[in-house]
């Protein structure tokens, strides 16, 4: 007899309100269902009432952890729409901040994953190493988490040359700590036993569900927006895309931690190549009619923004697709058949960010504005029965 276990909406496991319904038989999970909407804030609608200068601040607040990716994707979309050329120095600054954000996000996830596994030491370590990055962000942008650095056509603040050594020093100090964390997580026999072979997502399933980012790369799908559709300065610096063929949780930990080293390489490369120059292009107040897309590799995968401009200073429509939206359905491939005790870490394994995901679409009846009342449904049902009856009768005649 299967029984249902609710997780959430307020649960010590989760930072965000989210409701999972697990159906279990004995210890085994046989079905998983998710109910969202606790974080819906109506951002797409709000964006239509704000000017192009204001929207980056709004979309930055979609998610606090990847708060560099959303404004960047929006700016790329508007620049694509209006054909604005971004100065090279602004591109370098964008990539530097994006990668600092990625480092912080991956460390944050590593810590939370350790917390979910009962290894609070990993949590404390990872978050301790993350702290200098937040201080670095505060130095460069003025805030620990929401930066407000991106604007359409460039960036808002320059990184002065006297800050370069400070960035280099912070990264140099971070490297040995990351190596230690990587070694400690991968060498620990208990962590290995908890992670290896658990929550397996095969390459076929990864493609079928369309998962993105580190989750896809850990299953052997070689995708990365920074390489495939370069933005910022990611095509000017040498780095490589980390993939793993195994597809289990250990692979996801490995991919994320190794990506941190690539992020450091990217930042260092940008600092070397950066040359003085303007940091922002002239942007017209009113964007000519058209549409544009922006793609950014957020820490969790591809973040996609689609903008329709109508010739005024406000966007006509902004469509956002965040990576977790694609990664979430893969729970059905990874959770089923696992034991209940592994579910916590499997759910955390995709690095879910529900704040990013909560978009709302109102689906109207395909034929117009009409709403279907109970009588309408009843009528439709009767019509269908009549149609079927008629078909059956016709069939008998033949």
């Amino acid at each position: 007899m299967p029984s249902k276990i609710p997780i959430g909406p307020y649960h010590p496991l989760q930072e965000e309100p989210e409701h999972f319904i697990l159906t279990i038989e004995g210890e085994q999970v046989v079905d998983v269902d998710v109910s969202i909407g606790y974080n819906h804030r109506g951002i797409e609608k709000l964006a239509e009432s704000k000017t192009y200068d204001q929207v980056p601040f709004l979309v930055e607040r979609i998610c606090g952890i990847c708060s560099m990716s959303h404004p960047l994707a929006f700016s790329l979309a508007v620049e694509n729409c209006a054909g604005i050329e971004v100065p090279p120095r602004a591109n370098y600054i964008r990539t530097i901040l994006d990668e600092i954000r990625r480092l912080h996000s991956h460390l944050l996830w590593a810590g939370l994953a350790g917390h979910f596994l009962g290894y609070n030491t990993v949590w404390m370590w990872a978050w301790k190493y993350r702290e200098p990055l937040l201080e670095l962000s505060e130095l460069l942008t003025g805030n620990r988490n929401h930066y407000g650095m991106i604007k359409v056509g460039g960036v808002r603040r320059d990184i002065p040359p006297e800050h370069y050594p400070l960035i280099r020093k912070a990264l140099d100090e971070l490297k040995p700590k990351l190596e230690m964390l990587y070694g400690a997580v991968l060498d620990d026999p208990v962590l290995r036993a908890r992670l290896e072979g658990v929550g397996h997502l095969s390459r076929e399933d990864a493609i079928r569900y369309g998962v993105l980012g580190p989750t896809a790369r850990a299953s052997g799908v070689d995708i990365d927006i920074r390489r495939d559709y370069p933005y910022g300065a990611s095509d000017k610096v040498e780095w490589r895309v980390i993939t793993s063929e195994r597809g289990d949780l250990l692979a996801r930990v490995e991919v994320r931690l190794l990506e941190c080293f690539e992020s450091i390489k990217l930042i260092e490369g940008c600092l070397e190549q950066m040359e003085p120059g303007p940091i922002s292009a002239d942007v017209p107040r009113k964007i000519p009619p058209g549409e544009g897309i922006g793609q950014v590799e957020a820490p969790r995968g591809e973040c996609f923004h689609y903008v329709v401009a109508n010739g005024t200073d406000k966007p006509e429509r902004l469509k956002i697709r965040a990576p977790t939206y694609m990664n979430l359905p893969s729970f059905r491939a990874t959770c089923l058949g696992e034991t209940l005790s592994d579910v916590a870490i499997i759910l955390a394994g995709i690095d879910p960010c529900y704040c990013c995901t909560e978009r709302l679409v109102r689906i109207k009846d395909g034929r117009g504005e009409r709403r279907l009342s109970f009588e309408d449904l009843l009528k439709l049902s009767w019509e269908k029965t009549a149609r079927l009856r008629k078909e059956a009768k016709d069939g008998c005649v033949e």
Binding site: E15, Y38, N39, L108, W127
Partner: protein
């Protein structure tokens, strides 16, 4: 920064009991995650509030302080009220971030029912202490200061 009515009185014993090592229950009601991670940041080695016996608990029934983040969306409102009813009295509510204090950038959103203080005063009709900690996100120092101020207000209600 803080606001308090002074109707409900706290017995000296209750006030003394809550003044040391308050336990915190965290409730997100339509957030961007940032206040939440800054709240967790308070517990990690840089700030390490666990030194003082302050810790996050898994159930509102164990909590002294309710940390509320986010702009309070319509789906979260009944859950927020249900959680508030479960917290042992007296308790304080700390509304974190610009959203918790005055809805922040989501002021015009169709899905918000108002800042935490309005919900507590007008919908729940309670005079619980509500401390607003503005900032987007507030720094961990500000969060700690907010809790300390709230606890002081609770002490002042003692007669």
């Amino acid at each position: 920064m803080a606001s308090a009515g002074s109707k409900t009185r706290t017995s000296p014993w209750q006030a003394w009991g809550i003044s040391r090592s308050p336990w915190v229950y965290h409730l997100a009601t339509g957030t961007c995650n940032n206040c939440d991670i800054e709240l967790l940041d308070c517990l990690t080695p840089r700030y390490d509030l666990e030194r003082f016996g302050i810790k996050l608990v898994g159930s509102p029934r164990h909590a002294d302080v309710l940390m509320v983040t986010g702009m309070m969306n319509r789906k979260c409102l009944p859950r927020f009220i249900a959680v508030c009813r479960q917290v042992p009295k007296p308790y304080i509510i700390v509304a974190l971030g610009a959203c918790g204090a005055n809805k922040g950038i989501f002021h015009d959103s169709y899905n918000t029912v108002g800042p935490v203080e309005r919900v507590v005063r007008e919908i729940m009709k309670e005079d619980t202490i509500v401390v607003n900690v503005p900032g987007c996100p507030p720094k961990p120092e500000a969060i700690i200061l907010g809790v300390v101020k709230g606890l002081k207000l609770l002490q002042e209600r003692r007669r």
